[in-house]
Structure formats: structure tokens, C-alpha cells
């Protein structure tokens, strides 16, 4: 029973942390206004980070879900606003189903950015109201809330095939019949887009199994990002509480502040357990993986939102200003909570996946 990363994973976490700290050394976290994302992406490619879970044959590191989650946690901790999750963590995974490996090679080199186009209507991850269809190799429909959609080179689209079954399709941004409508977002590091497909040519990557697999992975990796963000908010609050004096004492010596911080630690540590166990289950393709991921996403997104909000309360007035970066975490936490299945959605999923019927006493 070893609940920890191996040496390679620890080293990669250090590399990623140092890389992200180096992008913007004067700030405690990466403000999208002050970061040259194009340069950052090229540097990430040079470091080999864009081939993290690509096959070794194309110059990748062939990392599994534990390795990917380990790094996304660090990226979430430093508030990196790149499409790493959709391009590398999910993109490489989904495109491994494709017989044509050019896309994979382009991702590893840093020449191709990918995003997921899944949600429709009001944006429920349940997908029961999905209307996009694929007929004769062409896709018709409209996708909402597409993260980084304006800058993506390739879309991974979930749509219905003949018989109403879900399928996963790749669509190049340059294809005909595709309209991208960029939208500003509350989180400045996560611009959104609405994508309309009117007979756009697409390539099929897989059926319902592939859809389920990449959506589960996306939720797992989003949970890992949230864990990193939650830890960052806790650390910000604790260090401020040690430094800031009022009534002649550090505010961290007041129990009201101490207890806020203790509640944050409880949530962070619980999220850590849930995320690591879910990543482990995914890596070993355990039967209960989806249930573990539902738990991880519910626990970690809740923890991130709680910690970001509580951090603002501990910091007081400064946290309401644009100048202090904690608002970026708060906005991201709200987005991560809602874009990948909010906690009550995850609890319904947990029940559907047998969460109330499974024994407790088995190895985690």
C-alpha cells in the first residue's frame, strides 16, 4: 500500500512547477493578462510535456492517468490557463483511436491545440438532450461552452450517429461548414466559444465507449486541477494569516481564522485522497473507476470552490480587488464546478454507478 507518486512522477512535478513559476516569477500565480501563452506552449513542447501520455514511438512519455493527474494538479496549483487538459491529457488519449497519427505528432511538437466540444443547450453533462448528428461523414449541430474554442485547431466532438448512439468525432477548425463564435468569459483565462457545424466533414474516432472514456478522463483531470487550485488557496490564506496583523497580533492566532483554515485543510486532504484513488483506479482500469471519478470530481470541485471562497474571506478587502490574484482562482473554481458535472450531478452519477451498493472493505 503506497499512496504516493514514484520518482519519475515527483521529478516531473518539479519540472512543471519550475517551468510555470518561471513564466511569471514576479507573481504568485499566472495571470493570463501577463503571460505570453504562445511562448509558454512552445516551451512546454521543448520540455517534452506535450507528449506526456503519447506513445514512445512518437516521442512521448507514455504516462498513464496517475502521471497525467499528478501534473494537472501542479498546473491547477499554479493556475495555468492553457488548453493542456483538452489537448494533451484528453486529445492524445482520444486521438490514439485514430489510424492517422499526424495529429498526435503535431500535438507533441506543439503545433496543434485541441478542445472538447461536448455540451449543448444549457450544458448538462448528462448528454440526454444532445441533438448534434453525424450523417454521411458530415456533422450537423451546435456546441456550447467550448473552452478555448476560438484558438483550437481541432475539435473533439460528441454527436449522435445512426440509431441515436453516441460517437466521438474529430473535426479540424479549418473544415468547411464550421463557424466559431468566440465569447468572453468570467474567467479571463478560459475564453469560451459556440461552434456551429453545418455539414462539416469529420472523422470518427469511436463510439459510446470512447465517449464515456474521454469524458471520465476529463472529469478526473479536472478534479486533479481543482485539487491543485484548492491547495493554492489554502496556502495563500495560511501565509496571509501568519503575516497580517490586527489588534496587535497575527490574524492567524484568532480562532475564527484558524477554524476557517482547518476546514480548508479538511477539504483539501479529502480531495487529495479521492483524486489519487480515482487516478489509481483509472490507471489499472478497475471496474469501479467511473464511480471513483464521480467521487473525485464532486469532492475536489467542491473543495476548490470552498477554499477559494474561504480564502477571500480570510484575506478580506484586498481579495475583492482585481490587483490581488485570488479572484482568478475563485472564478476558475466556479467554472470547474459547473463545466464537468456539478456536485449534485456527480452524486446522481455515483448512485447510478452503484455507489450505494458496493462493499467498503476491499482495497481502495
Amino acid at each position: 500500500m503506497r499512496f504516493e507518486f514514484n520518482e519519475l512522477q515527483l521529478e516531473l512535478r518539479q519540472v512543471v512547477g519550475a517551468f510555470l513559476d518561471g513564466l511569471n516569477p514576479t507573481h504568485t500565480l499566472l495571470s493570463p493578462e501577463k503571460t505570453d501563452e504562445t511562448k509558454a506552449w512552445a516551451q512546454a513542447a521543448e520540455l517534452g510535456l506535450l507528449g506526456l501520455n503519447a506513445p514512445e514511438a512518437v516521442g512521448g512519455l507514455a504516462g498513464g492517468p496517475v502521471t497525467v493527474a499528478a501534473l494537472l494538479e501542479v498546473m491547477g496549483n499554479r493556475h495555468w490557463s492553457s488548453p493542456y487538459l483538452s489537448t494533451v491529457a484528453i486529445g492524445l488519449d482520444a486521438l490514439s483511436f485514430s489510424p492517422d497519427q499526424r495529429w498526435v505528432e503535431a500535438i507533441v511538437k506543439g503545433d496543434l491545440q485541441v478542445t472538447l466540444a461536448v455540451l449543448e443547450g444549457r450544458g448538462s453533462l448528462a448528454l440526454t438532450d444532445l441533438e448534434s448528428t453525424v450523417r454521411g461523414g458530415q456533422i450537423f449541430g451546435r456546441k456550447n461552452f467550448v473552452l478555448h474554442g476560438g484558438a483550437a485547431d481541432l475539435f473533439l466532438v460528441v454527436a449522435r450517429e445512426a440509431g441515436g448512439h453516441l460517437g466521438l468525432f474529430a473535426v479540424e477548425a479549418s473544415a468547411v461548414g464550421l463557424t466559431v463564435c468566440g465569447e468572453a468569459a468570467m474567467d479571463p483565462g478560459r475564453p469560451l466559444a459556440t461552434i456551429t457545424f453545418e455539414g462539416t466533414p469529420c472523422q470518427r474516432l469511436g463510439g459510446g465507449d470512447a465517449v464515456e472514456r474521454i469524458l471520465n478522463r476529463a472529469q478526473l483531470y479536472s478534479a486533479a486541477e481543482s485539487l491543485g487550485g484548492a491547495q493554492a488557496c489554502l496556502d495563500l490564506a495560511v501565509s496571509y494569516a501568519k503575516d497580517r496583523h490586527q489588534f496587535g497580533r497575527p490574524i492567524g492566532s484568532f480562532q475564527a481564522i484558524q477554524h476557517h483554515c482547518a476546514e480548508m485543510l479538511l477539504q483539501v486532504e479529502s480531495a487529495r485522497s479521492a483524486v489519487y484513488a480515482a487516478a489509481h483506479a483509472a490507471e489499472h482500469e478497475r471496474e469501479e473507476t467511473a464511480m471513483q471519478i464521480a467521487m473525485a470530481q464532486a469532492t475536489a470541485s467542491e473543495a476548490f470552490f470552498f477554499c477559494a471562497g474561504t480564502c477571500i474571506q480570510v484575506l478580506g478587502g484586498i481579495a475583492i480587488t482585481w490587483e490581488h490574484p485570488v479572484h482568478l482562482f475563485f472564478k476558475r473554481a466556479q467554472g470547474s464546478r459547473t463545466l464537468w458535472g456539478d456536485p449534485s450531478f456527480q452524486r446522481r452519477r455515483f448512485i447510478a454507478l452503484g455507489g450505494l451498493d458496493r462493499p467498503l472493505a476491499e482495497a481502495p
Binding site: M1, S253, A262, R348, L360
Partner: protein
């Protein structure tokens, strides 16, 4: 990340399960599921015989060193034992206070004479212990202890009152934190004395609790005596010894407790399905939340065990008490909401139902062994390194 058990641990797990299953299906079947919180008074004499049976088969004091009569088993195997014991509905233990609190204290701080006198009887299930710490005016602030002891005619003589003493009425001995230096303050001048319970100077009065049952007692010392040699550590060093006692709990028993929680939550879920309120989406949401948190609690505990085994500081260990206590209290409330008006109805003989007792007694979970508020202050100061708060 490797969350699977080693082969030797699986073998051990099979051995424990097999033995317990055989015993509890046979001669000891009547003890299955008896005792424990809110049923603590059940079948005391039989349960003592069961503990002696456990001891004779070397299923007590698993983590103690072999020289002290234990088996020096790993923390993981200790966890597996506790899990299997709870899963087999082994009767609520009576000897755990001696086994997990006093035993390790004597192993680390006791004299050879004390070890020889007390450890074998704990291992064999012939001596039972209770803890004499809390007093009416020393609860969360334990350093306010007022019970006094002085040396008279070559022995210690004790005067004072302890309270919330679990299992005092079944115990043969009590380890007592008391003031042995006249006029001393706070942490100074305290001693850690081992006091026999069966004597004229000791009076035990059960405290009838919110459940109508009595797990806790008041213990009065009025000229109670004990031998001069029954002081652990030097006279005056009692505070350090008392704190050491609280640090020995390795966290293995929390796994057994979680299996009991599992059984309770399963009963609540079944009740919801039977009475139809499972169709209520709000009830479903609360059940799912409770189940998720129970699973997270278990994962947290495994991470804590990993940290302990590898000698790392464990932030996740620091939150364990706060987490389970609050979870269990909330589960008790969920149980009542699931039952609806029927939650008010007692059994035909007037006794409370199991879930009613759980609901009521879970209010104590967030108070004893460090209230939620004390826990949060400890987390802030010890795990997060925040400056000490005003006391």
C-alpha cells in the same frame, strides 16, 4: 501509487477472517454484534471470557513488541484485523483501553516491575482498565485537573472526582492524572498513578445519558489508595506521560469504526427504499453525499496509515477525528429524516431503537476526545503552523 495489499497481508487477512468466522459462528455466536457504543452494558461477563479467548489465541495486543507479549505486527495488519473484526460483528471490546492506551504507555515509560505486573494481564484479558483524565472542571482544558494525591504511610492516597470515565464499572484499574504537589499550577506537579478500582475509597456512579443508557461514569476518590510504586514516570512528570498516552493510538481502530458506520448507513438506505422516501431526490442526494464521504473517510485513513508507516507528517491524519465525528452526527440526522414521523416511535418495550440511539449518541462524537472546536484549533496550529491562539 500502489493501493493493493501485499501477498503476506492478504494471507494474514484470510487467516483472521477464517478464525473469527469459525469462532463467532460457533460457541460465541450469542455475542455477535453486542456491546460497543450505545450497547456498552450488554453481556459483560461473557464478553470478558471472549477477550480471554482472544488473548489465549494471541489476537490481542497485535502491535506490542514481542518482549511485552505482543506480536509486533505491522500497522497494515493491525488495520486488517480491526476491519475483519468489525466485518465479522465481533463483540464491542472492553480491553481496548488497556491495550491501546495504558499498555503502550507502560512499554515506553513504565518500570520493569510495572511492565511485568500489568502487561501480561492486559494481553490475557484478565485486567480491564479505564482512563481517569476528565473532571467536572477539566474537560477540554485538561491541565485544570484538581484531583489530589499525597503520600501517607508509604502509599498514595487520592481525593477528587473524575468524570466521563468510559467502562469504569467494568474496570479493575484506572490510570489517574492527579495533582501531587500542593499548590502546583496547570501542567506542573501532576502525576500518573495506577489505582485499583475495587476498594472502599472508590465510588462509581453511572451517568445516565441522552440515550437512557450509561457508557460513562463519574468516579469519586475519597481516600482511595495505591502502592507507592504505581506511579508511571517520576512524580510530577504526569503531564508528559498523560500526553504520551494520547499519542499512541495508531489509527488502526478507525477502520473498524468505519465498517460499523457502513452497517448503519446501509440500514438507513434500506429503510429509505422500504418506506419510499428514496424516491425523494433530496433524500437521494443526501444519501449519496453520505456514502461518498464515508468512502473518502476510508481513503483518508489509508493515506494516514501510509504516512505513519513511512514516518511522514500526516495532514490527513490531523483531520480524521473532525471528519468522522461530523460525518456521523450528520448521518444520525439523515437517519431520522429518512424515517420521518416513525423516527419518534420507540420499541414496544419502551427501549429506543438502534438508529434512535445512534442519532442521539452521535451528538457526543463531536464533543469527546477533543471537540470539533478543539480539533480545528489543533489542526490550525499543528498541521498548518498558524500562531498559537489566546488560551
Amino acid at each position: 501509487m500502489d493501493l493493493s495489499l501485499q501477498t503476506e497481508d492478504r494471507t494474514f487477512q484470510d487467516e483472521v477472517r477464517e478464525w473469527l468466522e469459525e469462532q463467532l459462528a460457533g460457541d460465541w455466536q450469542h455475542l455477535r454484534g453486542r456491546g460497543g457504543p450505545s450497547d456498552e452494558d450488554a453481556l459483560i461477563e461473557e464478553r470478558k471470557l471472549w477477550e480471554q479467548h482472544l488473548g489465549a489465541n494471541r489476537w490481542t495486543c497485535l502491535s506490542w513488541p514481542q518482549l511485552a507479549g505482543g506480536r509486533a505486527l505491522s500497522l497494515v495488519q493491525e488495520v486488517l484485523f480491526h476491519e475483519a473484526y468489525a466485518a465479522a460483528q465481533g463483540p464491542g471490546r472492553l480491553g481496548h483501553i488497556g491495550e491501546t492506551l495504558l499498555g503502550p504507555t507502560l512499554i515506553h515509560h513504565g518500570s520493569d516491575e510495572q511492565k511485568g505486573r500489568f502487561l501480561p494481564a492486559i494481553q490475557q484479558g484478565t485486567d480491564y482498565w479505564c482512563q481517569g483524565y476528565s473532571e467536572p472542571n477539566a474537560g477540554s482544558d485538561l491541565a485544570g485537573v484538581q484531583t489530589r494525591a499525597e503520600v501517607r504511610d508509604g502509599q498514595w492516597v487520592l481525593t477528587g472526582q473524575k468524570t466521563w470515565t468510559s467502562l469504569a464499572h467494568v474496570a479493575d484499574w484506572c490510570f489517574v492524572l492527579c495533582r501531587t504537589e500542593l499548590g502546583s499550577q496547570r501542567h506542573q506537579g501532576l502525576s500518573y498513578l495506577l489505582v485499583p478500582m475495587d476498594q472502599p475509597g472508590v465510588t462509581i456512579r453511572p451517568i445516565k445519558q441522552i440515550t437512557g443508557t450509561s457508557e460513562f461514569n463519574e468516579v469519586f476518590f475519597d481516600g482511595a489508595v495505591t502502592e507507592l510504586g504505581h506511579c508511571v514516570g517520576a512524580p510530577g512528570d504526569g503531564w508528559a506521560v498523560a500526553m504520551a498516552t494520547l499519542g499512541f493510538e495508531r489509527g488502526a481502530s478507525t477502520f473498524g469504526q468505519q465498517l460499523n458506520f457502513f452497517n448503519e448507513l446501509q440500514d438507513i438506505t434500506n429503510a429509505a427504499k422500504q418506506n419510499g422516501c428514496f424516491d425523494d431526490p433530496l433524500i437521494q442526494d443526501r444519501l449519496a453525499q453520505s456514502w461518498m464521504e464515508l468512502r473518502v473517510m476510508r481513503l483518508n485513513a489509508w493515506r494516514m496509515i501510509h504516512h505513519l508507516q513511512t514516518d511522514q507528517p500526516s495532514a490527513v491524519g490531523a483531520i480524521n477525528k473532525l471528519y468522522w465525528a461530523r460525518w456521523h452526527r450528520k448521518m444520525g440526522e439523515l437517519a431520522m429524516d429518512v424515517l420521518g414521523p416513525a423516527s419518534q416511535r420507540a420499541q414496544t418495550d419502551g427501549e429506543l431503537t438502534r438508529l434512535q440511539r445512534v442519532f442521539l449518541f452521535s451528538r457526543a462524537d463531536t464533543i469527546y476526545a477533543g471537540s470539533n472546536e478543539i480539533q480545528k484549533t489543533l489542526i490550525a496550529e499543528r498541521a498548518l503552523g498558524l500562531p498559537r491562539s489566546a488560551r
